[in-house]
């Protein structure tokens, strides 16, 4: 089924609403974990080209710590949690209490990798359970996997499924900000939820907009 022509601004608005609910839950989890005020919101949901998607994360060549997991069930797709290296270091140093930890080091300590995967697990879990509650769709995430590399190389892995159908993808982008002591945001990360095109119909039907 070709749903490309059916996607309107109204559909994207509904997804934004859903994304914001998921983001609020994930932000609460992260705040509790770090004992800091974390803000997450969905600035927009767009149908973008593959290059456009890499640009959202700073360009294809930007080095990031990227968590990838697949979603199966009534809704299938890929999810990425992408943090610039300095932001990832910032979070993980707090989590494991080791100020020397660095994702840019040659042999990344296992403790940090494990903490990052757990962070991905907790955030995606709270995001997806909110999404599942809201839509009534059964959603099962796989165990997350971490890669420290160029964002284009990491995120394109989630575009393979989409690329069989079209050259554009629905991106539910979520921005993560941490309020610093002086009120400025010290962390800037992204969540990308990329539903497989075969799931577009299921999502919109569950939201009553198909």
């Amino acid at each position: 089924m070709n749903t490309d022509n059916l996607i309107t601004d109204m559909h994207l608005d509904v997804l934004k609403e859903v994304g914001n609910i998921g983001a609020a839950h994930a932000a609460t989890s992260l705040s509790q974990l770090l004992n800091r005020k974390i803000d997450m919101h969905v600035p927009k949901v767009e149908l973008v080209s593959f290059d456009g998607m890499f640009d959202l994360a700073g360009g294809a060549e930007t080095v990031v710590a990227g968590i990838f997991l697949r979603i199966e069930g009534d809704l299938s797709g890929s999810m990425f949690f992408v943090l610039p290296l300095d932001s990832a270091n910032h979070f993980i140093r707090k989590l494991i209490g080791d100020e020397t930890f660095d994702f840019a080091s040659h042999d990344i300590p296992d403790m940090g990798i494990s903490a990052m995967q757990e962070l991905g697990n907790i955030l995606s879990g709270s995001y997806l359970s909110a999404l599942s509650d809201f839509t009534g769709l059964k959603i099962y995430p796989t165990v997350p996997s971490l890669s420290v590399d160029m964002v284009g190389a990491i995120v394109s892995f989630g575009l393979i499924e989409v690329s069989q159908h079209s050259d554009e993808v629905i991106v539910i982008d979520t921005q993560i900000r941490e309020e610093g002591p002086d009120g400025t945001a010290s962390v800037n990360g992204h969540f990308f939820l990329l539903p497989d095109p075969s799931s577009y119909a299921a999502i919109f039907r569950s939201l009553g907009v198909l």
């Binding site: 890499f54 590399d149 497989d196």
Partner: protein
């Protein structure tokens, strides 16, 4: 998919499981680059096919583009990079997509009788590549190992 002549260079950044295929003519100092995402156009599930993203149609399309620039297919050579396995799991269609892309690219080059002169493929790292038609050199950059020339 694009074609350049010296002194211009051509590049693509952040290759993961995709394979960057460069076709070049050493004497005419002209080169083309195509970014292959999928091994086979039969995997396409839409009516409008973007030929550039499949190995079995993209390399041929690039060859035609170079022919239009006055290059003889006999004079063409190829260098390729990419096809890594970024993650160890995925949906059924995405498992081993990197190795499958490499395999499909090589098969297609063989079918078109284009000799493969250098490659930097596989592994689990992303790559940024840039080809310099003046010297027929492909620069391959990875995060962990810096830049190398092939």
């Amino acid at each position: 998919m694009n074609v350049v002549k010296e002194p211009m260079t051509i590049r693509t950044s952040g290759l993961g499981s995709c394979v960057g295929v460069v076709l070049y003519d050493q004497t005419k100092k002209i080169a083309g680059l195509v970014h292959i995402m999928l091994p086979d156009s039969n995997l396409g599930k839409s009516d409008q096919v973007n030929v550039a993203k499949f190995a079995d149609t993209g390399i041929y399309a690039l060859m035609e583009l170079l022919k239009a620039e006055g290059v003889r297919p006999m004079g063409l050579k190829a260098k390729i990079a990419g096809g890594s396995q970024m993650f160890q799991f995925g949906s059924n269609d995405t498992i081993r997509i990197g190795p499958r892309n490499i395999e499909a690219v090589k098969k297609e080059l063989k079918r078109l009788s284009i000799p493969l002169t250098a490659e930097d493929t596989g592994g689990s790292s992303g790559r940024t590549i840039e080809f310099d038609p003046a010297h027929s050199i492909l620069h391959v950059r990875t995060v962990s190992q810096g830049t190398k020339e092939i």
